[in-house]
């Protein structure tokens, strides 16, 4: 049951959320400045280019198809993880989260190296689907664990078979989680560059990169990026609309979670295939290819373990910093969205999500612009880079924080207040404490994504500082795949740690469900 407060939000919370939102909107402001400087005619001229409609079409097609296929794979996988009798469930859960650790450009590279003929739409769709499935699987599995099978039972007794019963009984319960996951996948696909570029599939992000690359045309790039923002905006609003309806409908059901685990029987083999194959394809193929390259390489350029260690340390520190910033920004927005309704709340939440639809280079440049104008002393320091990660990936935290907060019954807050604790103290002692697994999961999700980030890192990192991603790039850029392998494998290993914790954090969030059932 959603725990909503009806009253107007406290001013401090609203102000904090609006400030967070304004910070998250820096890239949008930057785009406005750029598009403004381009002038109206240039904007119109963009649409005269025969390529632009093709780019938009390709972008939409890719985002839509990747979203659909991740849902098609993620939902059944989540069902198996949450509701089937499985041996070694913990192992499967970790496996399901593992693709998060693989950057799309690495997965794409691995597949391309294995199957050089892969190119175009199908290749991009295939690889992005593989790496993005966990965005759906993890939240849906959590929703399934918290849900009830009571409605399915009713449908069964009313003459429906198991599948029809699921569609009627369980689907409405997990729909918000499916939507949230689909939103992340969709925005991820819109903004991804590395995966699509390697497969030579032309979308808006590749065109933006080209605009910077050959034409040095910042204005054209900004106009294309704005198109991307409009697409992202459409997606975010559509999701909110769909979620709003789902939430309203489902608020009514007050089922104590009663669940049975399904015996798989003859379906065991297909189930195992479904759980194992996407993860194996996303993780094992690139890793294998890289390791093989490592041994095949003719010119093993000098490998300095110290560099690897330093880059690993930087990666961990910077991504942790990014996660902290993202959480700090997302907290007021998530709490607001969890507890209050209204136009302002909706607008704040929408803006918070938009940065995720932007390619890293745009966010990077916007923060160059902003930090030089506002805090020149911090320019090209780790602070600005961590802040950039925070802005870029905050949307991934909003959903988790919103969900975790919404689960905490408001009656607990009321009790704490009558026991003598003010609003902030109550939030800290009760709400934050109970939402902790969800907030931690959100932080991990940001960290794992920030570790893989490249374009903004290149622009904003302190001069001379390397991360695993930049080291990897500087080697693959000159075809030194053998030399790149240790960095790639380390990156996947390091990112696998938060991915692993993530699969566990979600599983452990049941404490609250039990206690408030």
């Amino acid at each position: 049951m959603p725990h909503l407060r009806a009253a107007r939000p406290p001013r401090a919370l609203l102000v904090a959320a609006v400030v967070a939102c304004a910070l998250a909107a820096i890239p949008l402001g930057y785009l406005l400045v750029r598009v403004g400087s381009a002038g109206f005619e240039d904007v119109l001229a963009v649409f005269d280019r025969p390529r632009v409609p093709v780019l938009i079409g390709n972008t939409v097609l890719l985002a839509a198809s990747v979203t659909l296929s991740t849902v098609a794979i993620g939902v059944p996988s989540a069902f198996l993880l949450a509701r089937a009798r499985l041996r070694a469930r913990a192992v499967w859960t970790v496996l399901a989260a593992l693709p998060l650790a693989v950057p799309s450009y690495l997965a794409a590279y691995g597949w391309l190296a294995a199957l050089p003929w892969m190119q175009g739409f199908w290749a991009a769709w295939f690889v992005l689907t593989l790496v993005a499935v966990p965005y759906v699987t993890l939240p849906v599995a959590a929703a399934l664990r918290a849900g009830t099978t009571g409605l399915d039972d009713v449908a069964r007794t009313l003459g429906r078979g198991p599948l029809a019963a699921f569609r009627l009984g369980t689907w409405p319960q997990i729909r918000p989680a499916v939507l949230a996951g689909a939103l992340l996948v969709c925005l991820y696909t819109l903004s991804d560059f590395g995966g699509v570029a390697l497969f030579r599939y032309q979308v808006l992000t590749t065109a933006i990169q080209q605009a910077y690359g050959a034409s040095f045309n910042r204005d054209y790039a900004a106009i294309l990026a704005s198109l991307l923002v409009l697409l992202a905006l459409t997606v975010v609003i559509a999701e909110q609309f769909a979620r709003g309806r789902a939430a309203r409908q489902f608020g009514a059901v007050t089922g104590q979670p009663r669940q049975r685990r399904v015996r798989l029987g003859q379906w065991t083999a297909p189930a195992v295939v479904l759980l194992a194959v996407p993860s194996a394809l996303a993780v094992a193929v690139p890793v294998t290819v890289l390791v093989v390259r490592l041994f095949e390489a003719q010119t093993l350029r000098a490998f300095h373990p110290a560099e690897l260690v330093a880059a690993t340390g930087n990666t961990v520190l910077l991504s942790a910093g990014g996660a902290l910033v993202a959480i700090a920004l997302a907290l007021p927005i998530g709490v607001l969205a969890a507890r209050y309704r209204g136009r302002v709340v909706r607008a704040v939440e929408t803006t918070g999500y938009l940065a995720l639809g932007l390619p890293g280079i745009v966010v990077g440049l916007s923060l160059v612009f902003f930090s030089l104008a506002a805090v020149p002393a911090l320019y090209q320091t780790a602070f600005v880079l961590a802040f950039a990660y925070g802005v870029l990936f905050m949307p991934k935290a909003i959903g988790g924080i919103r969900g975790a907060t919404a689960q905490v019954p408001t009656s607990l807050e009321d009790v704490s207040r009558t026991l003598g604790n003010g609003r902030l103290r109550t939030w800290w002692l009760v709400t934050a404490r109970l939402a902790r697994p969800g907030i931690a999961a959100a932080a991990l999700l940001v960290a794992v994504t920030a570790m893989k980030e490249l374009p903004a890192t290149l622009l904003l990192r302190p001069t001379g500082t390397d991360t695993l991603a930049t080291e990897l790039w500087s080697r693959t850029d000159v075809s030194a795949y053998g030399a790149a392998a240790p960095y790639a494998v380390t990156l996947i290993l390091v990112a696998a740690v938060p991915a692993f914790l993530l699969s566990h954090a979600r599983a452990g969030a049941g404490e609250l469900e039990e206690a408030t059932a």
């Binding site: 039972d153 069964r156 059901v253």
Partner: protein
């Protein structure tokens, strides 16, 4: 519309059995209420009958159809069963009418337009039946708890099931709504002529609504009888305490009487076979027994002085507490070591401190004394 027979049913989830050889027989058209403490297996029994849980052993027969027996398990959707869970479990995204139509056989099969017309009429008839004619277009979120329960019942009845299973359908409602709905559900089931099982936590509800009452404990059915028999002649002391307020006094058996702190009382012997395997015939004179007295069987008469007590036949006692419930009240009475609860009507209400004589009206029951 059909007799329901359950024979030697054994059900378990993981290791231990949750139901241990439960047998029952509900005649066509009657309503069985099942009571028992939390976790005793009530829901499990219903779910097994519905086919939502597989039995380990035993048989379930609905009318002439064997739905569960050795190695056979008919799918729930083929059992012709209506299921009304505690929380109504209406489909939140369907309107009331659509929820009900969901259960209609016409909503499956047959051509679309014919189906629609048939459905509309059927739904209207069912809505009228549960007294919600005007609410067809509402969403479940817009219903009160009682209304939601009625819709759930209509939905379950829509498919013209042979048996309706109700799992604590009134659990979530407030007492007034509950009493109200209880009556109308009973009538509805009778009108529909359908055989039913109702699980409830509330023994008063079970006694008042059902043709038969089953009392469960720890996976076993301790007694299955008419409401009066269950209340008046509980099979075991535990059942006695579960279906109503009860006072147990130690006593000794003397022919058709027992001797206890309240004097020598006419008594019936109830062999507690399940618990002690003692012989069915009455015990020898002088044997220890447990005497069951219900609070409403205690008659209190105010006394002026201690002396009078003996004259009336019971021990002298003092009223130490009053719990008022409107139409009657429970008085706590202390006589020496003895602490008794006596139910009195508004007219018989006595203030705390009143000295009273305690007398037992009617015959009491004697059970084997616990070791």
């Amino acid at each position: 519309m059909s007799r329901l027979e359950v024979r030697d049913l054994v059900v378990g989830y993981d290791a231990a059995d949750v139901l241990r050889s439960v047998s029952l027989d509900v005649p066509d058209g009657s309503l069985l209420a099942i009571v028992g403490p939390s976790g005793c297996g009530k829901t499990t029994l219903l779910r097994t009958i519905a086919g939502l849980v597989r039995a380990r052993a035993g048989e379930i027969r609905i009318g002439t159809r064997m739905v569960t027996t050795h190695g056979i398990h008919l799918a729930p959707e083929k059992r012709r069963i209506g299921w009304v869970p505690q929380d109504a479990a209406l489909f939140p995204h369907l309107t009331v009418a659509e929820n009900i139509a969901f259960g209609l056989p016409s909503a499956r099969g047959s051509a679309k337009s014919a189906r629609r017309a048939a459905t509309r009429d059927d739904v209207q008839r069912l809505l009228a039946l549960v007294g919600l004619g005007a609410l067809g277009d509402r969403l479940p979120a817009q219903l009160s708890g009682g209304q939601a329960q009625r819709v759930a019942l209509a939905r379950a009845l829509a498919s013209a099931p042979d048996v309706v299973l109700l799992d604590e359908p009134f659990g979530a409602l407030d007492p007034i709504l509950r009493a109200d709905l209880r009556g109308s559900v009973r009538e509805l089931l009778r009108e529909a002529g359908v055989t039913g099982i109702l699980v409830t936590h509330d023994q008063a509800e079970a006694l008042s609504i059902a043709d038969l009452v089953g009392v469960m404990r720890g996976g076993e059915l301790l007694q299955l009888d008419t409401p009066e028999q269950v209340y008046r002649r509980p099979a075991t002391p535990w059942v006695a305490g579960f279906v109503g307020d009860a006072v147990f006094l130690p006593g000794t058996w003397h022919g058709d009487e027992v001797a206890c702190a309240l004097g020598r009382l006419p008594a019936d012997w109830v062999p507690d076979d399940a618990a002690t395997a003692s012989p069915l015939e009455a015990p020898v004179d002088g044997a220890s027994v447990a005497v069951l007295v219900r609070p409403e069987e205690l008659a209190l008469s105010p006394l002026a002085a201690d002396a009078e007590a003996q004259a009336v036949g019971g021990p002298a006692a003092v009223v130490t507490g009053v719990s008022y419930t409107g139409h009657d009240a429970m008085l706590t009475v202390v006589a020496g070591d003895l602490r008794l609860e006596a139910r009195v009507t508004a007219a018989g209400l006595l203030p705390v401190g009143t000295r009273v004589a305690v007398r037992v009206t009617g015959r009491v029951l004697a059970y084997p004394a616990r070791a």
